[in-house]
Symmetry: C2
Subunit: 121 residues, 2 copies
DNA sequence: CCCACGCTGAACCATATGGTTCAGTATTTA
DNA sequence: TAAATACTGAACCATATGGTTCAGCGTGGG
């Protein structure tokens, strides 16, 4: 059994699991944009885009501010450090496992060779 | 308009958006495990765990092999480089935007100071 | 003052997700 | 050979997701 309940990573990874939302984030990396701008660029209704932006907001990747009738979206407060750290930890583990496998293969290869030598005698 | 359709990132980020699945991956980073092992550790039916493992498999984070009646799970072929790259790109963008904001604040501060000087005259 | 603009909320829809139970099948083990 | 083990597939359920339409509502320009 193990500790459960890290809802922050849940939200950010879920937010990133949609191509449209990743696109929106990339766009906002270049310049701020209104809901209308984004809806146009991603060929979607305002309502649909508003939902995506909502998801990104809740995950902290985007923040918005309404001035007059325009809601302007920009990159949000979160820098995704936790997420990056998770992925890096995974890769380290993956490399370890891979190295381990390498060592095993090496050992088997060595063993084979010495077996060959034995057989030649 | 923009290119859509990067289903690989979709699958891996979606796979990582669930705490149980992240837990499974972490576990497999420590040692291989059967479905039964994982189901026990995460307090879930075999069927439920099998589904999670299926999701991870489809995303390439886990690979499995059935020997006799036991299915053994281990870390999969993908090293999540694309995913890490995406996050790093995001962070770079984020830092740029932040620096930009800093510069603007700096400028405003400078302006204020010179205004003060002007007012003192 | 009026109309176009930008957005929003509610309702709806189809499909996906995260879980279960139950009834198998195949493989060990005693 | 019988019983226990390990998994699997189908069916089901509740809720979430990704989208739409439609009817507003506040704002701003002419």
């Amino acid at each position: 059994m193990v500790q459960r309940g890290t809802t922050r990573l849940d939200a950010s990874f879920a937010a990133l699991s949609d191509a449209t939302r990743r696109g929106v984030v990339e766009q906002l990396g270049r310049s701020d944009a209104s809901i209308t701008d984004l809806a146009e660029r991603f060929q979607m209704t305002l309502t649909g885009m508003r939902k995506h932006v909502g998801v990104l907001e809740r995950a902290g990747l985007v923040s918005t501010k309404k001035v007059g009738r325009v809601r302007t979206c920009q990159l949000g407060p979160r820098r995704l450090e936790e997420e990056t750290a998770w992925l890096e930890r995974y890769r380290r583990r993956w490399d370890e496992r891979f190295d381990e496998l390498d060592r095993v293969v090496d050992e088997l290869t060595r063993k084979e060779k010495s077996d060959e030598r034995r057989n030649r005698k």
